[in-house]
């Protein structure tokens, strides 16, 4: 024992780190901040460390070359002992980190922790969020498969819309005129060197400021933050009702961090690594690219926005959001911290959560995408063919062959791009059906050039049979008279 303490003293005489470390560990924190609400930041930090370790382990095998990256991932998944597990840990770690950073941010916002004097901590936190998302996207690119390849295409298409500089931005992003080897190399450099370096630096600043300024006290309704008096009040609070961070509060951080690490490992074991999906060969076009879950909401939004709003939204939206987040501590640097007295803050968080959740859910089944194989894969349900005439059955065949079902469902199978046609005869008269098929409109392509008159007649005859049993098809009341004239 004495030997160990002597060795310790020998090092400390030279490093002189023991007392600042002890000071940091034992700095007093307000008693009520030793709460399960205050564990998300440290958990995000632990997952970040996990990402660093697993990332380095993956780099032992991964080859950042467009020709070989995919095969090296296959080798990790199948050939190298527990390579799949390290990949799974890194992939699930990334999901957990994005989620934890967002939860941490939400907690900080609701607890008013961004107010004076912690404005800069919040601003550095915004950069940490952006860097985390940057890691998530560039990591998805390094998993160089079909989704990564076409995801880059989407990224380039968005970047190209920047006024004037668009084409230059695209070439800078891709490292050349097309998505190729240079593209992967530069995303590798970003993911492995540039962004982690910025992240480590920002995390250091972020934690340093938490230590210097003290953890945000538990917000009490009515306890107002004022620039003139806050520091004194906080100092008195920690003096009167404080406790050393270690061990008083730290055990909750440790328990939660360990729990999160176990959860990452459990997900990795149970669900395994993400992909890679198909080979990144652009000539294989039978693919339905989709982003990873944290960008699904954007994928949904891009289909649902009116086309004319898309470019302004893509270019101005992020600027407004980031500026808003950066300016927040300056716009409301004082005042109430408690969520109980900040209804707009609570509503904002709920609105954003519901919006992102809804878009993400929509994107998981993508009702706007045509089902590319519905016309050949989904049979016409039998009930729609009962006691039909030869012409109507011919129409059903046209309906199938002309790929109407890629966009329209029948009996709950088929695309959801257009309306379901189970009862279309009740909604449109015969004339309206003909017009809609031939001229299109309301987001439906016109099929006039692609259907012979006989095919159109048969198709309309079939569509006219699509109405619930007991309900007559829609008809134009004046037609009878018009025909008589």
């Amino acid at each position: 024992m004495r030997l160990i303490s002597r060795i310790g003293e020998w090092f400390d005489q030279r490093l002189q780190l023991a007392s600042p470390i002890r000071e940091a560990a034992e700095h007093p924190v307000p008693r009520n901040t030793a709460s399960w609400w205050y564990v998300f930041g440290s958990a995000a930090l632990i997952v970040f460390c996990l990402q660093l370790v697993t990332g380095i382990l993956l780099a032992l095998t991964y080859v950042p070359s467009a020709g070989e990256a995919w095969s090296s991932l296959q080798a990790l998944n199948h050939d190298i002992t527990l390579g799949w597990f390290i990949r799974a840990l890194h992939g699930w770690g990334s999901n957990f980190m994005v989620a934890l950073v967002l939860i941490h941010m939400m907690q900080v916002f609701l607890f008013g922790a961004y107010k004076f004097p912690r404005e800069l901590t919040w601003i550095v936190g915004i950069f940490l969020l952006l860097m985390t998302l940057g890691m998530a996207f560039s990591g998805q690119v390094l998993r160089f498969d079909q989704d990564a390849y076409w995801g880059l295409g989407i990224g380039a298409s968005i970047a190209s819309r920047v006024p004037i500089a668009g084409p230059a931005v695209v070439k800078l992003m891709l490292g050349g005129p097309i998505i190729a080897g240079a593209t992967l190399s530069r995303f590798f450099a970003m993911h492995v060197f540039v962004i982690p370096a910025i992240l480590i630096g920002c995390v250091g600043l972020h934690v340093l400021m938490v230590l210097k300024l003290g953890i945000n006290e538990w917000p009490m309704p009515g306890r107002i933050v004022k620039r003139a008096t806050y520091l004194k009040e906080y100092h008195e609070l920690t003096k009167k009702d404080g406790a050393p961070f270690v061990p008083y509060a730290v055990w909750k951080d440790m328990f939660f961090a360990a729990f999160i690490l176990l959860a990452v490992a459990a997900c990795a074991l149970w669900f395994g690594p993400f992909g890679p999906t198909g080979r990144p060969d652009p000539t294989i076009i039978q693919t339905v690219p989709k982003p990873d879950y944290f960008f699904l909401w954007l994928y949904a939004l891009l289909s649902l926005l009116p086309p004319s709003l898309e470019t302004p939204f893509l270019l101005i939206g992020p600027v407004v959001v980031i500026l808003g987040l950066l300016l927040l501590p300056f716009l409301s640097g004082e005042g109430e911290k408690s969520w109980k007295r900040r209804p707009i803050a609570v509503l904002t968080v709920m609105l954003i959560a519901v919006t992102l959740g809804t878009f993400t859910h929509l994107a998981t089944y993508a009702p706007w995408s045509p089902k590319m194989n519905a016309w050949s894969g989904a049979p016409v349900p039998v009930q729609f063919l009962h006691s039909t005439t030869a012409l109507e059955r011919q129409g059903a065949l046209v309906f199938q062959v002309k790929q109407c079902r890629n966009c329209h469902s029948l009996g709950e199978s088929g695309g959801q791009r257009g309306p379901t046609l189970d009862a279309v005869a009740v909604q449109l008269t015969q004339d309206q059906l003909i017009r809609q098929v031939i001229q299109g409109g309301g987001n439906m392509p016109a099929y006039g050039k692609n259907l012979s008159p006989a095919e159109t007649t048969a198709l309309i005859a079939f569509l006219e049979t699509l109405h619930p049993a007991g309900q007559a098809p829609a008809r134009d009341a004046s037609r009878h008279f018009a025909l008589e004239q």
Partner: protein, 180 residues
């Protein structure tokens, strides 16, 4: 009596040191910027574009649309399969063609041709185009991108080399076929 504003020998030397390091930094910055921006500067004046052959016209039946692939004119050693680019070739009649980029004019996903319904459909956000490439429905704001082409000695060649994107760069790929 020491004067704060007076320039001392050491003060001057330090200022010179800062200036000297600034010069060195600038001397390093220029080649570094040149290297970093080379993917842009190289692309000036259509530096990436070149004529590539899609093969004999006979492999494209009149009135039909077929998938063709070509190797990008600029290839780097590590590109692997990514330099193989697909495109849709529509032979209208005789030597009249339309060559469409595979990339949807919305966000670049690969569009697929459905001959039965005569539509190009995009799997990502539901963009659809007619057989002549014009927009039929969905989020795209324009028709499919077209490569300039020419037919010589029974071969069809297109001017390609850049991934078409919906921004201003798309102007490089003219919308109208160049040789009518």
């Amino acid at each position: 009596m020491p004067n704060d504003n007076a320039l001392t020998r050491r003060g001057l030397l330090m200022k010179l040191g800062v200036f000297f390091n600034g010069c060195v930094a600038a001397a390093f910055a220029l080649p570094i910027m040149d290297y970093l921006l080379s993917s842009i500067t190289r692309g000036r004046n259509n530096g990436y574009l070149d004529w590539v052959s899609l093969g004999p016209v006979t492999q494209f039946p009149e009135g039909e649309t077929r998938l063709a692939t070509f190797r990008n004119p600029l290839v780097m050693p590590t590109d692997g399969k990514t330099a193989d680019t697909p495109c849709w070739v529509r032979r209208v009649e005789g030597d009249k063609f339309q060559v469409f980029a595979i990339n949807c004019a919305h966000l670049g996903c690969p569009v697929r041709w459905f001959p039965q319904s005569g539509l190009f459909m995009c799997p990502c956000h539901g963009g659809a185009y007619y057989r002549d490439g014009s927009r039929a429905s969905g989020p795209p704001e324009r028709g499919l991108f077209e490569y300039p082409y020419k037919v010589e000695n029974g071969l069809i060649t297109i001017q390609a080399g850049e991934m078409p994107t919906p921004g201003p760069s798309a102007a490089l790929l003219r919308k109208e076929p160049p040789c009518a």
